[in-house]
């Protein structure tokens, strides 16, 4: 494996980590506020479809992005209605959202485009194109750092950089603002927040809305940045990998970046080497695909550092009477 190959793998790992990172941060906001969100997958899928469909129809990827975010927000709204207003089971609501998105995207896609559930290929302004970072050309001749800068960091779409920016931003919002403090408190002890005169319902809806926007960005990136059209079931379990990354990161923003990059790297490596030959034995591609899930189970088992979720996660808040 030469230096260039490593750079290419890292480059593709960054691309593949981006949707995971957005979705992982979405889960982070939601679960920190005490709302389990296994509907990340469905929200991403819905957003991926509506952003590709809108981008194709209008020819503008920005309108597509807005449509994707809107679709994801609608699904988030359903989740909020079920789990906050009507105090239903958050897990079941998430399962329903995943199916709703999986069925509706194909149903509407077939009806609009008649391409077996796909959208037509996006071209030109209908998809995000790469941005060359300043001095990428000039610096590419500098040893080691130059190629890393030019090959790995430069040339990605706007959304990749936005995802990287979202990490410190999430950290700041969650750990350095009053809103973030309250949001985390609502996930640990909602009764205390309520006693302090802050609305639990408002905070949880706010968290879910943020999660909706982030999932919208994740989905839009899948169909207009990473790919160039919507394909049925194109999220392919990424929502669940993001959930795994969230546990891996123990519900912390910076660790979310590392975890999603690790899982992106795993995917990039298994794309490049379907069976990884390690000399003594060969790792089959199926093992690489299952590795994020296996790692998460190991983390969950608590043998390698215990992952403790927010304490009030999954429980609807009922005021005492």
């Amino acid at each position: 494996m030469d230096f260039l190959t490593i750079l290419q793998i890292l480059d593709s790992a960054l691309r593949l980590a981006t949707p995971l990172l957005f979705a992982c941060l979405a889960g982070l906001f939601s679960e920190r506020a005490g709302i389990f969100d296994i509907g990340l997958e469905g929200k991403m899928l819905g957003a991926a479809f509506f952003s590709a469909a809108t981008a194709f129809t209008t020819g503008s990827v920005w309108l597509g992005l807005l449509a994707g975010i809107a679709a994801s927000m609608v699904l988030s709204g359903i989740h909020g209605l079920a789990s906050i207003t009507f105090k239903g089971n958050q897990l079941i609501s998430g399962v329903a959202i995943n199916f709703l998105a999986s069925g509706l995207t194909v149903l509407i896609g077939l009806s609009w485009f008649k391409l077996g559930g796909q959208t037509p290929a996006l071209q030109g302004n209908a998809r995000f194109s790469g941005i060359d970072l300043p001095f990428a050309e000039a610096l590419s001749n500098v040893p080691v750092i130059g190629p890393i800068y030019a090959e790995v960091l430069s040339g990605h779409t706007f959304l990749v950089y936005l995802a990287l920016l979202a990490v410190p931003l999430s950290w700041y919002v969650l750990f350095r603002t009053r809103f973030g403090l309250r949001l985390r408190a609502v996930g640990e002890n909602p009764a205390a927040v309520d006693t302090a005169g802050v609305s639990v319902v408002h905070l949880r809806y706010a968290a879910i809305a943020i999660a909706g926007v982030l999932c919208g960005l994740a989905g839009a990136y899948l169909s207009t940045g990473l790919g160039a059209s919507f394909v049925r079931e194109m999220t392919a379990g990424r929502g669940f990998i993001a959930l795994a990354a969230l546990i891996f990161a123990k519900w912390r923003p910076w660790y979310a970046l590392y975890a999603t990059f690790l899982f992106g790297l795993l995917e990039a490596v298994s794309n490049r080497y379907p069976s990884l030959d390690l000399g003594a034995f060969t790792l089959p591609s199926q093992f690489m695909q299952a590795l994020p899930y296996i790692l998460t189970v190991v983390i969950l088992a608590g043998f390698v550092g215990k992952a403790i979720p927010p304490r009030a996660g999954g429980q609807p808040y009922v005021k005492e009477r």
């Binding site: 079920a82 009507f86 399962v95 709703l100 509706l104 199926q286 969950l300």
Partner: protein
């Protein structure tokens, strides 16, 4: 005081949920420019209008009875087993190994061995999530989701690298030997002189599924273990105080649940495909969630709900054949049923309760406060 009589909880609420799901699905069909009533009649005709249609409806229903029972047993212990998909996948592996490796003299023996093997493989796949939930406190929903994906990868590896016959291109095992082929429902009914279409996938497993319903009923409501499971589900601290071992109940309950999900494989792998292919579960593990919710975790309710979803699956297939409504409509209906019966239950329940409260107030003539 409960505002609602029990019959309303069992029949009225699921009915309202179902009607809501159907109305919204109808609106979706309208939105894509088709006639919802015509779609419904195509579905009814295709799924229930002939014994051929019934042959498919009952086949799907058999799958859903197993996965529905699996989810329901776990529900009774307040555990949410979302891993039916993975457990049924492993069950398929158990069936395939039994059918391919041992030369069976007759299908009756093969069926018994395959049932045990399928249940054992399914139960095996639920042990680790159950152990982690009971001992290490990791959430069973997350671990069973992870195990679904691990199961898919594992099966992919085993089929492609081990069980695929030499020279074959498609990822599937060899055809099971003749002696393991299960008699179809058509064969059985015809031998009794009842006309029924041949060549449909419904098979003798239907009766195994119904037997499983009876067994689950006795297990949950007529045995000591079932009592412990329900007590544990109602209140964990109370159950522990009463001397019920939480680790034991969690693991045993999840193994029963996983075993039931695994047994689905004797229907779809042994009864229908007669070989193991990739992705043979086709989401039945997830439909089990809707079936258990709708059937109120009771075997009778589960049979009825499984029939409903069997009807939807077959009707949806017919729909995509004859109209331009794709079969994904079924996924949408399924999602809406899960949403209304499981997550938005409070939205439907509260107004119905208010109606019953108003009715009882009229009858007794006195005003009853909510505190009573």
């Amino acid at each position: 005081m409960t505002a609602m009589p029990k019959w309303a909880d069992i029949t009225l609420i699921p009915l309202i949920n179902l009607i809501l799901a159907f109305v919204i699905s109808g609106l979706v069909i309208l939105a894509i420019g088709e006639d919802p009533l015509e779609a419904l009649s195509v579905m009814i005709e295709g799924a229930l209008g002939s014994s051929y249609g019934w042959g498919y409806t009952l086949y799907y229903a058999t799958n859903f009875i197993f996965t529905g029972l699996a989810v329901a047993v776990a529900f009774h212990a307040s555990l949410f087993n979302i891993g039916g998909e993975g457990q049924a996948t492993l069950g398929g592996l158990g069936v395939a190994l039994i059918c391919l490796l041992i030369p069976w003299p007759h299908w009756t023996v093969a069926l018994m061995a395959a049932s045990v093997s399928a249940a054992a493989f399914g139960a095996f796949w639920s042990i680790i999530p159950a152990y982690l939930q009971a001992k290490r406190g990791s959430h069973i929903v997350i671990t069973t989701i992870m195990f679904n994906f691990i199961a898919a990868a594992l099966l992919n590896y085993v089929i492609v690298n081990m069980l695929r016959p030499k020279g074959a291109m498609d990822p599937a095992t060899a055809k099971f030997p003749e002696a393991t082929h299960l008699p179809s429902l058509g064969d059985i009914l015809n031998s009794f002189g009842i006309p029924f279409a041949k060549g449909t996938p419904a098979n003798v497993t239907l009766f195994v599924a119904l037997a499983a319903c009876v067994l689950v009923y006795f297990l949950i409501w007529r045995t000591r273990l079932g009592y412990q499971i329900r007590a544990f589900g109602k209140s964990q601290p109370a159950a522990i105080y009463a001397g019920i071992n939480p680790v034991r109940i969690t693991i045993i309950c999840m193994m029963i649940s996983g075993g039931l999900a695994g047994m689905m494989a004797i229907n779809n792998v042994m009864g229908e495909a007669e070989r193991l292919i990739l992705g043979s579960v086709e989401g039945a593990g997830f439909i089990g969630i809707a079936v258990a919710l709708m059937g109120r975790s009771h075997p009778v309710g589960i049979v009825l709900a499984a029939l409903l979803f069997g009807f939807l699956s077959q009707g949806g297939a017919e729909l995509s054949l004859w109209t331009s409504v794709p079969r994904e409509l079924v996924t949408v209906i399924q999602a809406l049923v899960i949403l209304f019966t499981g997550a938005l239950d409070g939205m439907v329940r509260a107004p119905v309760e208010r109606v019953f409260l108003a009715l009882s107030r009229d009858k007794s003539g006195t005003v009853r406060g909510p505190a009573e």
